[in-house]
């Protein structure tokens, strides 16, 4: 395998990993606060279509990303009202959000099918972004670097700040957090909104960068991979980063190896690999003698009502 192809593979896998990292990171923070939002796919699609429409009408791609984050945030607030304020079942609400988001994006994007927009250019000047070797590290758009920076920021926030501690506390024991006087529902709203904004951004990465066009269901189920990734990471941002790149590598390498003529696995296996990897990771984590649990936040998915 030539160096050029190796670099091309790495660059493809980074692009494949970036949106699932973004969506997964958002969901990780949401789940750390004790909320399970299965609406990632729906929020991604809402973000994808809002981003595409905005970029298409304004001709300014960054505005697309901003609109996408905002749209994802709004979609997540819908989840918040139903699951946090009214106290509806989180699993059902999340699934409903996915169905809603899929339909809404399809409706909103109907007039934009078959159109395309300009991608964001690479963040760094062409002299290094276009360099045959340096492009490996500098050849991406700003979202790729943003996704990594946000992962670092989230790791620092969750583990080294007081606010992060409170967020984790809300996720581990909502009743205790409430007893101490923390506004559990408000904190969860913030986490859900953050998750929604990142899911929107992740969706827009598909419609604005990976395949800059609008087509229905453009994310094609990546939201579920992001959800699997959160479990795979056992709720740790660092592992999420690693996992996203492993998932990206698995998806990319298989295509490249086949194109090169080595069929490592039948194509049906390729489609299930990310999920298989999650199952394996779960099994490995669960089998470790020192920690017999999966590190899931204790209150994950439980409805909280103050005074209940």
């Amino acid at each position: 395998m030539s160096l050029e192809i190796a670099i091309s593979i790495v660059m493809t896998l980074v692009i494949a990993a970036t949106p699932i990292l973004l969506a997964g990171l958002g969901e990780l923070v949401v789940e750390k606060s004790g909320v399970l939002n299965l609406g990632v796919e729906g929020m991604m699609l809402v973000g994808a279509v809002a981003g595409f429409i905005t970029a298409s009408l304004t001709g300014f791609t960054p505005a697309g990303y901003a609109a996408a984050a905002l749209a994802g945030l709004c979609a997540s607030l819908l989840f918040g009202v139903l699951a946090l304020t009214i106290g509806a079942n989180q699993v059902a609400t999340g699934l409903a959000l996915t169905i809603f988001g899929t339909g809404l994006s399809s409706l909103a994007g109907a007039g934009f099918v078959g159109t395309t927009i300009a991608r964001l250019p690479a963040l760094f000047p062409q002299s290094i972004a276009g360099h045959p070797i340096l492009r490996l590290a500098f050849g991406y758009d700003v979202i790729v670097y943003l996704s990594i920076a946000l992962t670092l920021a989230a790791a620092w926030f969750l583990n080294h700040t007081r606010s992060g501690l409170i967020l984790r506390c809300v996720g581990e024991s909502d009743v205790s957090a409430h007893a101490i006087g923390y506004p559990v529902t408000a904190i969860r709203y913030l986490a859900v909104a953050f998750g929604g904004a990142l899911a929107g951004l992740a969706g827009a990465y598909y419609s604005l960068a990976v395949t800059p066009m609008w087509a229905d269901r453009i994310t094609a189920g990546r939201g579920w991979i992001a959800l699997a990734l959160v479990v795979f990471s056992s709720w740790r941002p660092w592992r999420l980063l690693l996992g996203a790149y492993i998932f990206g590598a698995v998806m990319t390498l298989e295509l490249y190896s086949k194109a090169a003529g080595f069929a490592l696995l039948p194509p049906e296996m390729l489609a299930m690999l990310p999920y298989l990897a999650t199952v394996v990771a779960l099994a490995v984590i669960a089998m470790r003698p020192s920690r017999g649990r999966l590190d899931a936040p204790r209150c994950l998915g439980k409805t909280f009502r103050a005074g209940a």
Partner: protein, 359 residues
């Protein structure tokens, strides 16, 4: 309890359907004929499903208030299709088009259970008294774009983003490769199977992988325009699938195989209205205008345009069959003798690749 309720509902539904034809005969003048469509992808895929939906709209426009068309999109191939088919029948659709190969078993089963409803299954081979099949000879279009690919490719390597190894896709790959090798005997087709009809990001990555392996012209048998977009970005050439996709990739898009199902749908609806509907297998192609070749990219040299036009008119005239011997498969086994033409039956069951296909 739940099971009983379910059965009761189903029985009630079946009863309603059994009563349907009489109702229909009586109410034909007043009530519009309901026609249902089952789609595997979203109508906004800009590809295969989009083409079916364009035809549905044309059919609706053609008959106006005399018919009412309905569709269900994103139906998974498998058991779920059966549920949706039954639901469409219960809603009173007297004629139902199941538009993807993977709906075959479900359609056959439901057709048997509901003998008074007319079913039409695209690209399959199971038929019954109330179940007809229809298909388009897309492979004829593949021969046209294969000719273009063979002449336009500098590396002599074509990339083929493929979905599932079913005969429909296999015959497309073979015809593309045969036509390309006719103009460039060294032409090779690299095929990448994705196990999906629709996943834009994966289709794009597959196109990138093929391009990195030396393919400088890429075609696809998946439904989104994503591979074309990769061609546009990398300065390669590609072809539209099912719809004219030149708006997505104006430079890369050389032409497209356009599916035009409208004449068939309009005809079948008329047959139901007249009471002349019969089962059968319809396989139309370039000649009947079911398969169309989109306008050529202006950047295509005139000799390539002419060669493509020649192949197209020879197929329409019946003087050229895209699969004509001598043909040896890619494992060295002779398949067709010199001058022997592939029969429709052979095409419908094709599970081998011609020389030059790397799969």
């Amino acid at each position: 309890m739940a099971a009983i309720l379910d059965r009761r509902t189903v029985l009630a539904g079946a009863g309603a359907i059994a009563a349907l034809p009489h109702l229909r005969a009586r109410a034909l003048a007043a009530d519009p004929l309901k026609v249902g469509f089952l789609y595997v992808g979203p109508v906004g895929d800009f590809g295969y499903t989009h083409a079916h939906d364009v035809a549905r709209k044309k059919t609706q426009d053609f008959y106006g208030e005399k018919i009412k068309t309905n569709y269900v999109e994103n139906v998974p191939e498998g058991p779920d299709a059966e549920r949706v088919l039954r639901q469409l029948a219960q809603e009173g659709n007297a004629l139902i088009f199941a538009t993807s190969f993977g709906f075959m078993n479900a359609t056959a089963k439901v057709a048997k259970a509901l003998p008074k409803v007319y079913f039409e299954h695209a690209t399959g081979y199971m038929r019954g008294p109330n179940l007809a099949t229809y298909n388009a000879r897309f492979y004829e279009g593949r021969a046209v774009i294969g000719t273009i690919a063979g002449m336009m490719s500098k590396t002599g390597v074509g990339g083929y983003v493929a979905s599932f190894p079913i005969p429909e896709v296999v015959m497309g790959i073979n015809c593309f490769t045969l036509a390309a090798r006719k103009v460039n005997p060294k032409f090779q087709t690299k095929v990448l199977w994705l196990s999906t009809w629709y996943d834009p990001a994966k289709e794009a990555d597959a196109a990138k992988a093929l391009a990195d392996q030396g393919a400088d012209i890429i075609t696809q048998h998946t439904d989104s325009p994503a591979p074309l977009q990769v061609c546009e970005q990398k300065g390669l050439y590609g072809f539209g699938q099912a719809s004219d996709m030149s708006s997505i990739a104006p430079k890369a898009h050389l032409t497209a195989i356009v599916d035009n199902w409208a004449p068939y749908y309009i005809g079948r609806v008329k047959a139901v209205m007249d009471g002349t509907w019969k089962t059968g297998d319809t396989w139309w192609g370039l000649k009947q205008d079911t398969v169309q070749i989109a306008p050529y990219n202006p950047a295509m040299p005139d000799n390539v345009k002419k060669a493509a036009d020649d192949v197209k008119s020879a197929i329409i005239a019946g003087t050229l069959h895209p699969v004509t011997g001598p043909i040896t498969d890619n494992k060295g086994t002779p398949r067709l003798k010199d001058g022997e033409k592939a029969t429709d039956e052979m095409l419908e069951k094709m599970d081998w690749y011609v020389e030059g296909v790397q799969s």
